[in-house]
C-alpha cells in the first residue's frame, strides 16, 4: 500500500520509459510552477514527482530503487494510513460563472491498527511551557499545578518530560528527563510561584530548546504553551520560532486561559506547527483540558502529518479547515500543510473549498491532487505518503446529485465559524454596519440550532460593535472558539466547563 515512485506517476511497475515520460508530461501539465504561480501545494508535489521521474528514467537508479523497494516490502507488519477524498458533487455543469466545489478529505489509520494500536501508547517527548505571571496568582496557578501533577502521574518511564515556567524571563524547572522519579518531578512543579509580566517568546524558546534535546522521529515531540496574558513586541519572533520548530518536527499547542490573551496570535502559533489552540474560559477546566490533550497525544498512530493540495492550474484553493479532531483553521501558504498527529482511533477530516472557473469544457477533467505524508510511529522507515487524484465530469445537463451528508453536516457548522470570521474581517476594514449585520445573522442561525447561550453572546457582541466598534475580549474568544467546537462530535473534547463527560479529577 505504500505510495512508491510508480504510484506517484500513476504507472505500473513494469512501465516502459516511454510510458514514464508520457505519465510525467501529463502530470507536469497540472503541477508545473510555470502554470501554477500561486500554488505552494503544486510546487511541493511537482518536486516530489520530478524526483520519482528522474529516478525511474535512469535505468541504473531505477534498478537500485526497485531493489530497495523489494527489501522494504519484505519488512513485515509495516503500517500505513489511507487517504480518501469525497467531492461535494460527482459532476459539474458549466453555468457561465465560477463555481464552488468542496473536497472532504479523510486520513485514517491502517484498519489493522484499530484493535492493537489503540492500546499501544506512543512515546511522548513533552514540554510544558507554563505562564507564571502575576495574573496567574491564586486558583489559576493552583489548577495548573494539579494538571501538571496528573500529567506526570499518567506518563510512563519511557516518556520524556520537561517543564519551563515563564514571566518576563524563563526558568527551566524540569530539564528534559525520563519520567522515572515522579515524586521529585511533582515537587518541583509545586514550587511554582506567580510574579511578573508575560513574555511568551522567552518561555517558548526555552521550551523548544528543552524539547530538542530528545527530539526523535518515532516520538511525539510536543510543546504545550499555557498562558493567560498578552505578550508584547515578540509575536513575530514567536511565529518564526514556531515555523522553525515545525520543520524540526516539533508541534506546539497553545492554550489561552481566561479572556486577556491574544486569540489570533495563539491560533497562528498552533496552526503553523500542526498543533491545537484552545480557549479555556475558567481555571476549573484547565486540569481536564490539559490531561485530555496529553492523553490524545499518547494515542498517536502517526506524527508530523501534512497534507498537500495541488488544484489544477485553473482551479483556485480558497479555504482549508481541519474539522476533526480538534477543529482548527489551516494556513494554505505551505506546500504541505502541517496537521499534527493522526490518532489511532480518530481519523483526520479536512475540508477544502475550491473555485472552478466559469469557462470549462465538457467531458472528464481532473480537479486536484491531494497528498498526505506523515511518520507512522510503529514503522522503522518513516515518511509514509498517500495520494489521491480527484477528477470530475463536466456535463451540459446536471445529473441528479445530492451533496454527501458528511459534507452538508460539516458545512452547516463550519459556515457559522466563517460568519464570525467575516464579521471580524468587516470590523478590521472599519465597516461597522456589515460587522453588526453579520453578527446578527450569526446569532439568528445559532438560535435556530438551539445554541442559545452562544446566540446571546453573538447578539450582545453585535450591539457592542454597533456602539463601540469593538468586540469584547471575552466575546471575541467565545465566538472564535465556540463556533469551532460546534464541529466537534458530542464525544469529542470541548475545553469549556461542564460539556465533557470524561473527568480525570
Amino acid at each position: 500500500m505504500d505510495l512508491d515512485f510508480y504510484g506517484l506517476l500513476g504507472i505500473s511497475p513494469h512501465a516502459s520509459s516511454d510510458e514514464i515520460k508520457a505519465a510525467y508530461r501529463r502530470i507536469a501539465r497540472r503541477l508545473h510552477p510555470d502554470v501554477n504561480r500561486n500554488s505552494p501545494g503544486a510546487a511541493a508535489q511537482f518536486q516530489i514527482v520530478t524526483t520519482a521521474y528522474e529516478t525511474l528514467l535512469d535505468s541504473i537508479r531505477r534498478r537500485r530503487y526497485d531493489e530497495e523497494q523489494e527489501r522494504n516490502r519484505a519488512v513485515k507488519n509495516n503500517m500505513y494510513f489511507t487517504l480518501r477524498v469525497t467531492p461535494s458533487k460527482q459532476s459539474i455543469t458549466p453555468v457561465g460563472d465560477p463555481q464552488v466545489m468542496y473536497l472532504l478529505t479523510e486520513i485514517a489509520p491502517d484498519p489493522r491498527t484499530r484493535e492493537e494500536e489503540q492500546k499501544r501508547e506512543s512515546t511522548l517527548n513533552l514540554t510544558l511551557v507554563l505562564d507564571r505571571s502575576n495574573s496567574m496568582n491564586g486558583t489559576r496557578l493552583d489548577k495548573v499545578k494539579v494538571a501538571a501533577h496528573q500529567i506526570i502521574d499518567n506518563l510512563s518511564a519511557k516518556d520524556i518530560l520537561s517543564v519551563v515556567t515563564f514571566n518576563d524571563r524563563p526558568e527551566v524547572i524540569i530539564p528534559a528527563t525520563y519520567v522515572t522519579d515522579k515524586p521529585a518531578l511533582k515537587a518541583r512543579v509545586s514550587l511554582m510561584t506567580a510574579a511578573g509580566g508575560t513574555e511568551i517568546y522567552q518561555g517558548l524558546s526555552a521550551g523548544v530548546d528543552q524539547n530538542r534535546r530528545y527530539l526523535g522521529p518515532r516520538l511525539v515531540n510536543r510543546v504545550i504553551l499555557l498562558t493567560d496574558g498578552h505578550t508584547f513586541g515578540d509575536q513575530e519572533r514567536c511565529l518564526e520560532l514556531a515555523r522553525t520548530a515545525q520543520k524540526e518536527g516539533i508541534g506546539i499547542s497553545a492554550m489561552g486561559l481566561g479572556h486577556d490573551w491574544n486569540d489570533e496570535f495563539l491560533d497562528k502559533i498552533a496552526t503553523a506547527t500542526g498543533g491545537t489552540s484552545a480557549y479555556i474560559d475558567s481555571a476549573g477546566a484547565v486540569v481536564r483540558f490539559l490531561n485530555d490533550h496529553v492523553r490524545h497525544l499518547s494515542n498517536a498512530f502517526a506524527e508530523r502529518v501534512g497534507v498537500s493540495i495541488a488544484p489544477d492550474p485553473d482551479v483556485q484553493l480558497e479555504l482549508a479547515f481541519k474539522l476533526s479532531p480538534n477543529p482548527q483553521p489551516l494556513e494554505i501558504q505551505d506546500g504541505f500543510i502541517p496537521i499534527g498527529s493522526l490518532q489511532a482511533n480518530r481519523p483526520i477530516m479536512i475540508l477544502f473549498q475550491l473555485q472552478i472557473p466559469a469557462e470549462i469544457e465538457l467531458g472528464f477533467r481532473s480537479i486536484a491532487r491531494v497528498m498526505a505524508s506523515g511518520d507512522v510511529l510503529a514503522n522503522e522507515r518513516q515518511a509514509f505518503q498517500a495520494l489521491s487524484d480527484i477528477s470530475t465530469e463536466v456535463v451540459a445537463e446536471p445529473l441528479p446529485d445530492d451533496p454527501p451528508q458528511s459534507i452538508m453536516d460539516a458545512l452547516s457548522k463550519l459556515t457559522l465559524y466563517r460568519m464570525q470570521e467575516r464579521a471580524r474581517d468587516a470590523l478590521d476594514r472599519g465597516d461597522i454596519a456589515e460587522a453588526t449585520r453579520r453578527l446578527e445573522n450569526l446569532a439568528t442561525r445559532l438560535l435556530d440550532m438551539g445554541e442559545e447561550e452562544l446566540a446571546n453572546q453573538a447578539l450582545a457582541e453585535a450591539r457592542r460593535v454597533a456602539h463601540t466598534s469593538n468586540l469584547s475580549d471575552r466575546g471575541s474568544k467565545a465566538l472564535r472558539f465556540h463556533t469551532r467546537y460546534l464541529l466537534a462530535p458530542a464525544t469529542d473534547d470541548k475545553p469549556t466547563a461542564g460539556t465533557g463527560t470524561r473527568q480525570l479529577e
Binding site: Y6, G10, S12, H14, V85, D97, S391, P404, Q405, D409
Partner: protein, 168 residues
Amino acid sequence: MSIVCPYCGYQNRPGILFCEECGKNLQVDAANATLPTRKIDDGAKDLAAKATWGTARFNPSSSILIHVRDNAEPIILQPARRTIIGRSDTSSTQKPDLDLTPFGALEKGVSRIHAAIERSEDTLTLIDMGSSNGTHLNGQRLIPDQPRVLRDGDEIRFGKLVAHIYFK
C-alpha cells in the same frame, strides 16, 4: 447563474451549499424556505450518526449489480475470486470475465484488460490492471495494481465509461 438564497436574497456562487450571508442551507426548496422555525440541523444530527459511505461489507454468497450509465438493464454478477473487466477483442486471446463491449467500451476507452474486482472474506476490492485511460473510484484515480475497497453505491469509471455498483 448564481444561487439566490431563499431566506435573505443574497446571491451565492453556484456550488455554495450554505448561504454566505445568512448561513442557511441552500439545498432546501424555496417552498419550505419561508417556514421561519424550520430546524434542518436536527435532521442533520441524526444523519451524522449514519455511515458516510455505503457498507464495505460484502456477503460472499450475494451478488452485485453494475449499473452502466444510460443503460436500463443492470449487469448482475456473482463475483468470483477475481473478475477481470475489459472488452473482448478478436486480436487478443485473453477474454475478460466481464465484457463491456456491448456498452460502448471501445469508444469510451476501456482497455482489453482494464480492471478487476477481487473478492476476499467479506469485502470486494477494485484493482486497475494498468489500463491506458485509468480507473476512477468515486472520482479518484486508482494507482495501478493497488486494490481499493468497494462500497455499496460506489461510482466506478473505466476510461469514460461510468458505472455504479450496488451490493445485493
